[in-house]
Amino acid sequence: MKPKIILAIIILLSIAFQDACCPYLAISGIIPNIPLILAVFAALLKGEKYGIVCGCIVGLLMDLNAGKYLGLNMLSLMLVALVVARTMTGLYRANYIIPLSATAIGSLVYYISFLLLSNLIGTGVAFWENLVSFSLAATLYNTFIALLLYVIIYIIFEKIMKRNIFD
């Protein structure tokens, strides 16, 4: 199967899984963010350009699927991919510490940027309340989920999708 098709399927499944199942995995209202983890791993495993495009597509689909504030998730996930790719490039990716650190950094960047942007356009989402009570806990939860998902995504990106879709 072509890498582009595999990527499209993974993205669709991640967003559908996020809406259909992740709310049931909530702990005290904290929901893990699978599309965010996907964008982080795409940037980590495939580099900056791939990560940003992947973040853009995932974020745009999340926004279209939510049906409101088009572009907020897209911009936030593109920034996540950029930061992860810049900070983690050249590190030994098979070491488990690296993907977990990347997820933690990516999650923090995502939550902060999303809250900033949404306050900039006046969505009504409380900034400090969410930053303090939600973002840190959600970052920890995402990092834990990343621990479980890394092997699967690593195999898909590195073994099945050997060829970069931009090659």
Binding site: Q18, A20, C21, P23, G29, N33, G67, L75
Partner: protein, 300 residues
Amino acid sequence: MPNKVSYGRIFLIAAAIIIVLVIAALTNPSRSDITVVEKLTQDIMAPVKSVITFVYDKIRSLPLYLGDINKTIDENEALKREILGLRQEMDKYEAAYKEGIRLRALLGIADDMTEWIPVAAKIIGRDGSSWYSTVTIRGGEDKGFEKNMPVINADGLVGRIQSVSQYTSEILLLTDYGGAMGALIQTSRTPGVIESVDSRNVVLQLIHIPADVDIELGQVIVTSGLGGVFPMGLRIGYISEVSTVDGGLMQQAYVKPFVDFNRLEEVMVLTHIPAIEEDVLDEEETVMPTTESPLPPSDE
């Protein structure tokens, strides 16, 4: 990666970000309708979500099913007996309903109220982003759903339809920050505004209540019908805590919703039917709605 970044490139990126933010601001939930692209995306995602929800539900319910099968059989018997009793109750209410219509016609009360038909819909997804309290239901324009239609379940008010695509609808839950509405205390008829305080922990508050109003814990809060979105009398929740604000001039009450928002599986959308015309009243045997009243019985 080149280290030199031209001013032209920075300008282009900044312009792109500003354009995206303008689009984001313009696509807020208060707009009249979502775009074709959003509808298309939601319709494409709907079957994928349905399949995942179906599989996930089966996996989740398997241990419960195996463990509780005897309990379910007993419960089934008890429910059958309850249905028999409720049917008799319904006959009484049906007679009272017809009498109400007849008396309203006799008194010549102008009736611009709209009747509602509840249409069942299954929840196929929730907003997984943590920022908004919305759920996706199966059924959209194909079932006659429209933006702002009220959504209830057996326990009370769930929310309202925020956007509709061909086959799915997005429900803005009562617990969302944007879900504020007019409400009143059922017994004293004191009006106020109910809004979300903490969407993740499902906390609502009733605000703008004058300080001289007596509020008791456990009092039921219902919709006021003001604003034209919700019919009057839909049950919202009960008062769990009362406090004074604005230097003692006003009161606010924390409200615990009747609906368990974490376990929503099916809901009823209240769709419009035209108001009953006088000439139809003559044939009153045929004007009774085929479904029961959407207003759950009061606790009082």
